[in-house]
Amino acid sequence: MSAPVLTRKICLLGRLAVGKTSLVRRFVENVFDERYQTTVGVSIHTKTLNINAQTIKLIIWDIAGFEQVAHYQQYLRGSHGVLWVADGTEPASWQKLLAIHQNHQSIHAVPGVCLINKHDLLDQWRIRNEDIAHLQKVFGFVLFSSAKTGENVEQGFTELAKRLLKDQ
């Protein structure tokens, strides 16, 4: 008998315009749109994966980017995992992630994966090796990604799903 389907809630956290919605669309629908559209509130997507004979359905909460207001907190309730998204061309994006992580102790127990997005824009790439090492230390797993080329998008989500299964 096959194992029952597990449903798991994951949230995408990141500053405005780091490419959260593009990553989700690339992962779920395999499309990329150059036009930027701001997410209002939250948008929900679902995707089913099969990992080591276990079917897992991810309920992906694509939370709107933030500047000051910590509106994301309400959406994090009951989340099983977090996909931290930074922009490799924008230092403020990973500094913000580190600040959120530091300020919210409850989130430390939740499995997470950090994607440093926009890796296709190498001419504007500004993240340094020591920044990456620090992110690695804080979030445990870091990948360069590009929603535009699809680089490491599926791998990032799949890695998070694997961590959710380990965390069962």
Partner: protein
């Protein structure tokens, strides 16, 4: 000292010490202690359950673990034990579905062709609103069509009941989004009392949200529900929290909680509108009247349909029977258990095409002269022979193929006795060829030989060469290994080449002048025989006789002697019956050499002249 104090203890506390000893035995001896605990276990458990919630919680885990272990080890027994419990639940679920289906059917039947239904159909036709929609609007107050039980924190769907596929294709996304909206509304609009979204409108649906401590209930309702529905939904949610608190706390079980799903299915209720006041006093009787009329109409329609089917079957069967060769339909009528067909049937008529349930036959045999059946009889009659029989329209049978005279005569007699046959044409029939004749057509008898076959014995007469007759006899022996061959009257002649060689080797010596020795005379006789044989085989053959001499004597004398020797042998051959026209003479006297006697050169030699090289015609 000790003994005194013991005595005092014994005097003062004898009863207490005895009781203490009893208690000690009860507590310290496990068997006694078990019995004591067993006496109060049931009562103690009941009291602890009522008094102490912590006791209830503490039992949950070991009982759960115990059940898991039992499920692994005693699966079959547990399934058997649960069947009586789960079976009724499943039956109840199926029964609820059937009841809903019956309710829908009843509603449609009740409406049937009533004036109200006709009015709604008219409205539907005029407005384009589907008839089913109008029926729903006019007869149903509300209907709960979908029920979602959703984790309040994560927004994950715990269980769902409803009409799959009609709405909310991705129920998980719907649950999450509804939770997000609820959170958003609560966070941005509500006051500090924790108020949350209670309802929303989605087209013709109303979305109601019933809040609970761990999970909330979202139901989609079509129609106009009353607040009493909210109360019953709230009760149902409370019941779910009470019964399945542990399951609701474990997100791994979400989507796999059939008992919770059954609870949700109980919420999918339909509340019908009360009958209109106008219809109150007469509605029921009218409905009954309509139902009776409908049933009557259905019966009449069914009867008519059956009658038409019967007529159609009768018509088809009659048409089929009339086209079967060798069958004469006399009557066809309905009987108790189907149709009875009466008729005449030729033994060769094939009724299998109409043999099916419900048709019985009463048949009498007769002989049909239908051309196809006569042809069938012809084929049966000619089976086993190499003849084909073909019937023409005028009743003449044409035979073709091979047959012996006896076979043909017998067949003709039988054919002419057959009804439907007027004449027999056998001009196309040929006599069979015997194997011996077939052999001779491929291997003709050699020239000058007469072969006669009588009673499997072959008699050969005549003269022929050895080569020809040997190869022919080999072919005969191969084709007919058991045949007896009489060759007493067969004369086998030497071959032409052998004769020519023998003739060319012939030498007639003449030791003195033209005198022939006895040996030479035998040689001439033998030569004459060979020449005659050769000319029998080929009359164009001729020979040259060459006379020779040794070198004694003058050349002129030798020339003359050589000529005389050749002529002498020619005369002798002619005397033996050789045609003199086929004999030439020549000389080969000694031209030069030592003048000494040489008997070997005093001779006549012979040489055959082949037609191509010869001078004679």
């Amino acid at each position: 000292m000790n003994s005194e104090s013991d005595k005092i203890k014994q005097l003062l506390l004898a009863d207490e010490l005895a009781l203490l000893q009893q208690l000690r035995e009860k507590v310290l001896e496990s068997e006694h202690f078990s019995e004591a605990v067993a006496d109060v276990l049931a009562t103690a458990t009941q009291r602890a359950w009522k008094k102490d919630p912590a006791y209830q919680a503490s039992l949950a885990k070991p009982i759960g673990e115990g059940l898991k272990t039992a499920l692994k080890r005693e699966q079959r027994s547990i399934i058997d034990a649960f069947v009586p419990v789960i079976g009724p639940m499943i039956r109840a679920s199926v029964s609820a579905s059937i009841k809903k289906l019956m309710a829908d059917l009843n509603r449609i039947l009740e409406l049937g062709l009533s004036p109200k239904a006709i009015k709604w159909r008219w409205q539907s036709w005029k407005t384009g609103v589907p008839f089913a929609e109008l029926v729903f609007l006019n007869t149903v107050e509300y209907q709960v069509q979908h029920a979602f039980l959703i984790d309040k924190d994560s927004g994950l769907l715990i269980e769902y009941a409803g009409h799959e596929g009609e709405l909310a294709r991705d129920k998980d996304a719907f649950s999450a989004m509804l939770t997000a909206i609820n959170d958003f509304v609560a966070d941005t609009l509500a006051d500090d009392t924790g108020s949350r979204l209670r309802s929303a409108e989605l087209g013709e649906y109303q979305l109601w949200i019933i809040d609970g401590p761990r999970a909330y209930l979202a139901v989609l309702i079509k129609g106009n529900p009353s607040e009493r529905l909210r109360e019953s939904l709230q009760d149902a949610l409370d019941k779910i929290h009470f019964l399945y608190a542990e399951e609701l706390a474990n997100s791994d079980q979400y989507g796999q909680l059939p008992p919770v799903r059954l609870e949700l299915e109980d919420l999918l209720i339909t509340k019908n509108r009360q009958a209109d006041d106008d219809d109150n006093h007469t509605g029921l009787s009218r409905q009954k009247g309509w139902i009776a009329a409908l049933v009557l109409m259905a019966l009449v329609a069914w009867g008519g349909w059956r009658y038409l089917q019967h007529k159609k079957q009768l018509h088809n069967l009659t048409a089929q029977l009339k086209h079967i060769p060798g069958f004469v339909l006399q009557d066809i009528r309905s009987s108790d258990d189907g149709l009875l067909v009466t008729g005449l049937k030729d033994p060769l008529a094939d009724l299998s095409v109409v043999r099916h349930d419900g048709v019985k036959f009463r048949l009498r045999p007769y002989l049909s002269l239908d051309a196809s059946l006569v042809q069938k009889r012809l084929q049966r009659l000619s089976e086993g022979t190499a003849l084909q029989a073909r019937l023409a329209e005028n009743g003449q049978v044409t035979l073709s193929g091979t047959a012996s005279e006896n076979t043909l005569a017998s067949l003709r007699r039988q054919l002419l006795a057959m009804p439907g046959v007027n004449a027999v044409d056998s001009t196309q029939v040929t006599a069979p060829v015997s194997p011996w004749q077939r052999f001779l057509s491929r291997n003709p008898v050699p020239e000058n030989i007469q072969a006669t076959m009588t009673n499997q014995q072959l008699t050969l007469q005549g003269e022929t060469s050895g080569t020809q007759i040997k190869s022919w006899l080999a072919a005969v022996t191969q084709a007919f290994p058991d045949m007896a061959i009489d060759t007493r009257h067969l004369r086998v002649l030497p071959d032409k080449d052998a004769l020519i060689a023998a003739i060319n080797a012939s030498v007639i010596t003449m030791p003195r002048g033209t005198q022939i020795t006895a040996e030479g005379k035998q040689s001439i006789t033998s030569l004459a025989d060979k020449l005659k044989l050769l000319q029998q085989q080929d009359p164009r053959m001729a020979i040259t006789l060459t006379g020779s001499t040794d070198c004694t004597g003058s050349p002129e004398a030798n020339q003359k002697l050589a000529q005389r020797r050749a002529e002498h042998v020619k005369q002798a051959l002619v005397q033996h019956g050789v045609d003199k026209q086929r004999i030439q003479t020549d000389t080969k006297p000694c031209a030069s050499g030592p003048a000494r006697l040489d008997p070997a050169l005093r001779r006549v030699t012979t040489k055959v002249i082949q037609p191509a090289e010869g001078h004679l015609p």
